[in-house]
Amino acid sequence: MTDVNTSAPAGDELPEGYERQRMDVDVACVGFGPAMGGFLHTLSQGLTNEDGTPVAESKAMPGMPPQVICYERADDLGFGVSGVVTKGRGIRASFPDLDLTQIPLATEVKHEEVLYLLDPVGASRRPVLMRLADKALKIFGMARNHAFKLPYVPGFLRKEPGILLSMGQFNQWAGGQIMAQGQAQIWPGTPVAGPILSGKAVAGVRLQDQGVDKRGVPEAGFMPGMDIHSQLVVVGDGPVGAVGRKLDEQLGLPAGNHAREWAVGMKMVVDLPEGCQLKAGTVLHTLGYPEPEIFGFLYVYPGNVASLGIFVPSWFDNPVRTAYRYLQHWMQHPVLWKHLKGGRMRSWGAKSLQESGKRGEPFLAGDGFARIGEGSGTTNVLTGSGVDEAWTSGVLLGVSVLELLKADQPFTRENIEKTYVRRRQESWLEREAKIAEKARDGFQNGVVQGLIGMALTGLTEGKLFWPGASKKPHERIPSIESYFQGRISAEEIAAIRKDCTAKGLPLHGALMDRAGWPKVEHDGQLLVSHQDALLMGGKVQAPSGYRDHVTFKSHNVCAGCGEKVCIEACSGQAISANPEGGAPLFDREKCVHCGACLWNCSKPSPGGGESSNVDFQAGAGGLHSAEN
């Protein structure tokens, strides 16, 4: 075994007879999500004067209007996952006459509840304070269906009046509006390999090579990824996007900032059973079960459809933190199952969420680039909202880019800071992000401290918080033996590890069975195998001709890894144990591109820094559902 990453180097070397093509545009955008929707919508609306002439001339194609191109990794717009509840301030400002009936699955928020879930099966690892609270709730008869409904929804969590959206449908709708204006082109199925850097300046982006094998080696039909040169690169490729992360690696983050807090959100869209009592516009937030660290949500769309799911955070120190099985246990909690039993999975998927908020904010501007959206630290970690914040960051950049275009000013760091960064710092986005900045610090010490800390921050508008020192994700993860100490012996864990590795299986199934979690009885509709969720819900596909986008930097490090959290936490079972040892195996055809492997690795990068031993690139394929 050699201790090398076997992927082809991502350099300028090309096989003889091939040339890397170049194209010039004015604005190259990476990733189409809500932030890019806000940017492109705002830009498109302002690029033409009232008399129909363009407000500026293209520098890439003189005589033409500015050429604006957006590249999206996924195979279509809106292929992703998320039900969303949002106050929608930014979105409503962009669409003053917003008619929710035009966006499939969208509706107004009508009823909101927060439910504290008790443990009905006795397998949850609850701290003493929580156990006492559970007992008290039972003794005083305050828990119905093993759940306690909070008497009120704290103001900082409340979204009413607000909007319920399917992220996929909203993105498709927004993309359609933008493309119909004809000022910007949005190209799905086009993963970007990384930025074209010139020192600290960004000169454009390079697209991924096509016609290569899984290692990136050219095959028949090889087409080197094109270099797209542009005056401005707008980076909105999310927290696991290749361009944003590469910039963070090269430029670092502003002093004191870090992007260490993460969560994987695993979600479903469900056709509720006939006669279900849940009304459209209902929003349920849950906490406490299946593990205290896992939060859940259930939003009811029109047409007896619900979007539901859980968040498994990086500070849940379980090395076998499988979101899929926890999701199944969460759905079967009595207070939820009474509504869901008999329902049918319509869509399923997972996504990594960057939960560092303001503290994870990178350099928002530089020569030739600007950052927007979740990857730029827009998520508000107190209110738990990110879509409207991301959209608003895009709007602020859109206004700023128009200002610079009209003034014929170049996209230098100074000019972008004077316009976009200044606008952002003066906006509600920044004011609220500052209040929320330390809201979740308490979770570094424990879930109870975290909840108290959030309440303190929320109720005092950021004046009080529960302190906690942040660690890199891989520094938090304990060994499996240590996590299950007192419940499963080291000898038994060794036997389970040996057996599962030989079969190419993750360990979480056997360990959770052994820890007392009941077997999940599949009903073929809602409770299905993980693989069926990929097919029935995610409709996961991968086009051929692209390299593996998940690789392991040092195979020796993997060989010595006892946890292999990448396998346990993989949302699509795309990473599996290698019976021959060494690095785990990766199957691109199952990957949902959630990026959980990136921050669920328990080993630091051999190269040092904040990153882990997993390398995560932008790849084509993944979820093929836009209903989420």
Binding site: Q185, G189, Q210, G221, L535, K590
Partner: protein
């Protein structure tokens, strides 16, 4: 032969792996949540389009795509297809559910072809899918040919070889895994493509940008093609029952796969 006009007829179908559920709509059968289902270019039409582009490159011809479907969905799908090969599009804004009447669909498509500016039938090759993934009747393509007065029609085509004088030979699939080789003196002709021999072209941003300059205006002035379906009645629409038992097994010997399939059919 230079200056061929190759017109590809093709529309959209639900993306593979989507759950299709027939429902009764106001105008007859429809698919549940059809507008929310992701769509792709009908794979059979895709083969025809890539073959058309390949041929056009060789003979300095031009490719047109005449597409009948909901405009908004077509716009979305074109953002993928337009990156593949150069073409101009004619948009007919109508249904693409597969429940439309074949004759009505054919008439709309033939009308769309006739309206192509500068159409010269002596240089016209009409391409399309031999089959369709849209639950179609498999009859539309032939009818379009008849409406356009094209009598030389070939179905199940996997290859075309064109000579300098414009005559060509085609390989058509026939029973028993064989090919029938036919010769044709030249355009006009209609070819219903099987899979052809070409791989799906890679996404080329330059091709995409070039195509979109004409695609967006074409979408903006799409011709309405509401297919009324008068005289068409469906006695019933249902999906075949299916049993899902997923296992992902890689590198299984073909004998094992065949044995398992045979056991399943016997059961």
């Amino acid at each position: 032969m230079k200056g061929l006009q190759i017109v590809v007829l093709g529309s959209i179908v639900p993306d593979p792996l989507q759950t299709l559920e027939p429902v009764s709509g106001p105008t007859g059968p429809a698919l549940k949540n059809e507008l929310m289902l992701p769509a792709v270019l009908d794979p059979w039409a895709g083969h025809a389009l890539y073959e058309a582009a390949n041929l056009a490159k060789k003979v300095e011809g031009k490719v047109y795509l005449v597409a009948l479907g909901p405009k908004a969905k077509l716009q979305q799908v074109m953002m993928n297809v337009a990156q593949k090969v150069p073409f101009e599009i004619v948009v007919l804004d109508g249904p693409a559910s597969g429940f439309a009447d074949a004759a009505e669909t054919a008439a709309a498509l033939a009308g769309g072809v006739e309206k192509i500016p500068g159409l010269d039938k002596s240089k016209l090759l009409v391409f399309g899918g031999w089959q369709s993934a849209s639950r179609g009747t498999g009859a539309v393509l032939q009818m379009v040919g008849e409406l356009l007065g094209i009598t030389d029609q070939f179905q199940g085509v996997d290859e075309i070889a064109m000579a300098e004088d414009g005559s060509f030979t085609v390989l058509e699939r026939i029973e028993g895994g064989s090919y029938q080789k036919s010769s044709c003196q030249g355009a006009p002709a209609l070819l219903g493509w099987a899979t052809g021999n070409l791989p799906e072209p890679p996404n080329n941003p330059q091709v995409g940008m070039q195509n979109m300059r004409l695609i967006m205006p074409a979408l903006a002035k799409a011709t309405p093609a509401p297919l009324k379906g008068e005289g068409l009645k469906y006695a019933g629409v249902e999906l075949p029952s299916q049993r899902r038992e997923t296992r992902v097994v890689k590198n299984a010997p073909v004998e094992d796969i065949a044995r398992e399939l045979a056991d399943w059919i016997r059961a």
